[in-house]
């Protein structure tokens, strides 16, 4: 392993701050407005950032701290903000996420909410603690999912007798693209099983034009469905890191339901690649007791067939994979499967679990050639990559300058993608998503070879 000098400063970070993830989750719940308890810049920056990826309206309210608020506490501002959001948007839920500002001054948001007279506010108020100096946007995302599930399924609910004749699954997909979420819904529809997907921003953050102005865009997981999660037969949670976190005994949405309502929870990596998708469908089969439709067998068949056809072009190629830890793990697993060596697996996240997650998914002979880094920024990544002679990079738009400096193509995947259209329409998961990733990678490599060839053969 190559040692890099540890730097104190972060140059070109490969992570975003915690409340951004929470704001995204709240966009995936029907009729919900996110409200950041902090300075107005936070909500403006995060709106602008999410919009640059989704190219859709993104509304995040703010409690709008002033200097005075920062000194005397944000209680009054938060109450006023909640009242105003409730009046203007008549939301079903207001998702309140804290920021570094309100956390530093020690505002007790739960207490502020509890002390409020909420009789005139029909919206459910959910609070998630997301200090920006702890963790990354992924942590904010998972914490928000967990907070919503806990609040909608309090442990005071008496568990009624459930014959559980009809299978019903809770699915916590983690931070996936709109197209991924739509694909998951399609799969469950095909196996004719009820599923609650949380969050589901696939419609709200990719809707058609409006006949009527929509204060809150349509779409999202219905709150009633979240409240009925305690009646499901099983939960599924995507993300190997999240799975390890749960194993360590930390709370997740799935573990809350398991612990309080005896709903078994299956943790699995994001289903990218054949192996991971096989695992997903196997679990699906077991949990739903349904036969997986022919359609998916065919998708798988075509995918394997194309692996054979395209192997020549990807075998032993060297890739840099970066982004969220769960994304990196799943992507590296897929790359290893098609014979690409993910020579550098890097993330800005610092869960301490990335190495172990990769150990479990990548075959030993390839793993030897993989350099794993957590808490890494793009400057270190680029420096490191120079020694690894990569053929391409795969990840979000933020890696473009690195890829450009290295003179290698970038395959765009994950979040954020703001230098191309359709970032939220990239399908990463399932056999179908794997197929698209595979084709894109092969064609990117072919294009590079063709463009840099003196002759430019037009046949493969």
């Amino acid at each position: 392993m190559i040692k890099t000098k540890p730097y104190t400063a972060t140059r070109n970070a490969c992570k975003m701050c915690t409340p951004l993830g929470a704001a995204l989750v709240f966009h995936g719940i029907e009729g919900t407005i996110p409200l950041l308890h902090g300075s107005q810049g936070c909500s403006t920056y995060m709106r602008r950032y999410l919009i640059s990826h989704f190219k859709e309206p993104v509304d995040i309210a703010s409690s709008n701290f002033s200097e005075e608020t920062a000194i005397f506490g944000g209680g009054a501002n938060l109450k006023l903000a909640i009242e105003n959001v409730a009046r203007q948007y008549t939301p079903q839920m207001i998702g309140i996420a804290s920021t570094c500002l309100s956390e530093t001054i020690g505002d007790d948001v739960a207490m502020i909410i509890n002390s409020m007279d909420t009789s005139s506010i029909p919206a459910m108020l959910v609070h998630v603690s997301t200090p920006s100096y702890t963790g990354t946007h992924v942590d904010g995302f998972h914490h928000a999912v967990q907070a919503v599930v806990e609040q909608c399924n309090p442990d005071t609910i008496k568990i009624k007798y459930k014959p559980r004749a009809k299978k019903k699954i809770n699915l916590f997909p983690g931070m996936l693209s709109n197209e991924d979420l739509r694909h998951l819904k399609e799969i469950f529809m095909d196996v004719k099983t009820k599923m609650t997907l949380l969050p589901d921003y696939s419609e709200r953050l990719e809707g058609p034009s409006w006949v009527e102005y929509q204060a809150i865009q349509q779409g999202g997981t219905p709150i009633r469905a979240i409240q009925e999660m305690n009646l499901a037969t099983a939960s599924m949670e995507f993300g190997s890191i999240l799975g390890s976190v749960r194993k360590k005994g930390e709370k997740t949405a799935g573990s809350w339901l398991e612990h309080n309502f005896d709903i078994p929870c299956v943790s699995l990596g994001i289903p990218m690649g054949v192996k991971a998708t096989d695992l997903f469908f196997s679990h699906l089969e077991q949990l739903t007791l349904k036969v997986i439709p022919e359609k998916y067998k065919r998708q798988r068949g075509r995918l394997i067939d194309s692996y054979v056809d395209g192997n020549k072009y990807v075998s032993k190629k060297r890739a840099i994979v970066y982004g969220e830890e769960d994304f990196v793990t799943a992507m590296a697993g897929f790359l290893a499967e098609i014979g690409v060596i993910p020579v550098l697996c890097a993330s800005g996240g610092k869960s301490g679990l990335l190495k172990q997650a990769l150990d479990e998914i990548i075959p030993k002979n390839i793993l030897k050639q993989v350099s794993v880094h957590q808490g890494m920024d793009f400057t270190q990544m680029e420096k490191h990559a120079r020694e690894l002679a990569p053929d391409f990079a795969i990840g979000n738009s933020k890696g473009y300058p690195m890829a450009r400096h290295l003179g290698i193509p970038l395959v765009r995947a994950g979040f954020p993608i703001h230098d191309r259209v359709g970032g939220s329409r990239i399908l990463h998961i399932g056999y179908k998503g794997t197929q698209q990733l595979f084709d894109t990678i092969v064609n990117t490599l072919l294009r590079k070879r063709q463009d840099t060839s003196d002759i430019g053969y037009a046949y493969m």
Partner: protein, 554 residues
Amino acid sequence: MSTILKDPKNIEPGTGVLPDPEEVRKEMLARYPAKVARKRSKQITVNKIEEDGSVPEMGSNVRTVPGIITQRGCSYAGCKGVILGPTRDIVNITHGPIGCGFYSWLTRRNQTKPPSDDHENYMTYCFSTDMQDQDIVFGGEKKLKAAIQEAYDIFKPKAISIFSTCPVGLIGDDVHAVAREMKEKLGINIFGFSCEGYKGVSQSAGHHIANNGVFTHIVGKDDTIMDAEYKINLLGEYNIGGDGFEIDRILKDCGISVVSTFSGNSTYDQFANSHTADLNTVMCHRSINYVADMMEIKYGIPWIKINFIGAKSTAKSLRKIAAYFEEEKLIKQVDEVIEKEMKEVEKVRLDVRSRCEGKLAMLFVGGSRAHHYQELFKEIGMKTVSAGYEFAHRDDYEGRKVIPQIKIDADSRNIEELDIKPDKEKFTPRKTAEQITALEEKGYEFKDYKGMMPDMDEGTLVIDDISQYETELLLKIYKPDIYCAGIKEKYAVQKSGIPMKQLHSYDSGGPYAGFKGAINFYKEIDRMVNSRVWGYLEAPWQKNPELSAKYVWE
């Protein structure tokens, strides 16, 4: 629903009949609770121009009500993102958790062009101390010092600046003390900004903080006088989409030299040397007038307001600069450049005008853009029916003459006003008092900005810090042909079937300044307002006579 929405003649586009603005205003305020309505009523005004040229008082630069989703950013955004961001050779370190640095990393499209690849350009970097729990608890000064040391070791820059984010002020990290200590240690210029996000009501506070810092720590450090005849500074031009490059091209053709731009395509050395210019020209009055004022007092450089958005305005501004120098040679050269450039401009303008004449525009952006861009629309025959700023003050709406009447509230008081005195050695008035008076008698305006409202028609609606709800009403009632704002508003407006032009980032377009910029803008607006895509919004099989709902654009 009020009569204004029911009455079809009020809402038929293309009939030339516009709705009664007073009614629109009433409708807008109706939904707000009494207290918010009272506050908003001061910021929503029907324009009226009195005989003496005065306009109604415009509520502005007041805090947005919590929970109302606003366009505004924060003090940090104004300081780091807007003013210091476009300077390529200062290492900008964000002191705070990762978010602020990340979100301001190349998100503004201010372009820069180093003379060669070997020259410094740190703009592509995002430096952050990435504060963690332990830094919040035990203080982040040590980490900040280490970050500065690293930046120095790697880049050996001329200067390093530090930007404070919200928690920094709260935990009591003294960025200025750290800056002083490291400056002494490393021997390069290092300075900090207390631009915590909660300061002031918008990014405007950050502009002021940045102006003070740049003026105190950089301006006046290098007395080399540029060997050129007509030396000016270009203030408040940020080179979005290459605007500054186009302006530089024109000025060069005219024989006018730019000592420093604040701060598009700028360098540390330009700032340091800027006090040697003969004239300060101010583009964006809101964000940079503080530096202009301070340079006048300390160094004796007069300032004038100019505007390079719009071909006519560009010509007018060039002539204004030439008139200042009072030299026939320059005046002639400027006239020649204008004549040459206007040929192509006119050709395109008349062609585009034939398709855009009479269409309606709305602009809600910035602290000067909502005013400047009306010029371009006017040139192609489009009418601005409503406009407003995001973070401007009363003087930007009503003109500088109202400055003495502006009430100082708690938010403004928190932003330091520097007490500037003439510099004992470097103060040299560029013109004598008599020369200034003589020019003024000829109608020349120094140190003045007339504001947006006197330039707008009577009966237009002026709205400060517009909310989403108000935007929606405007779209519904006026059905404008184009709406201009920023990326946060873009997609909500387009969902209503109305084209939306970003005037912060230019939708990856530009330049729009100067003569070539005007041509670009005419063509862009032509493409947008005459696009066929809006006709495809509804499929033929979607038309269901039983449904009475209508799209806004129908």
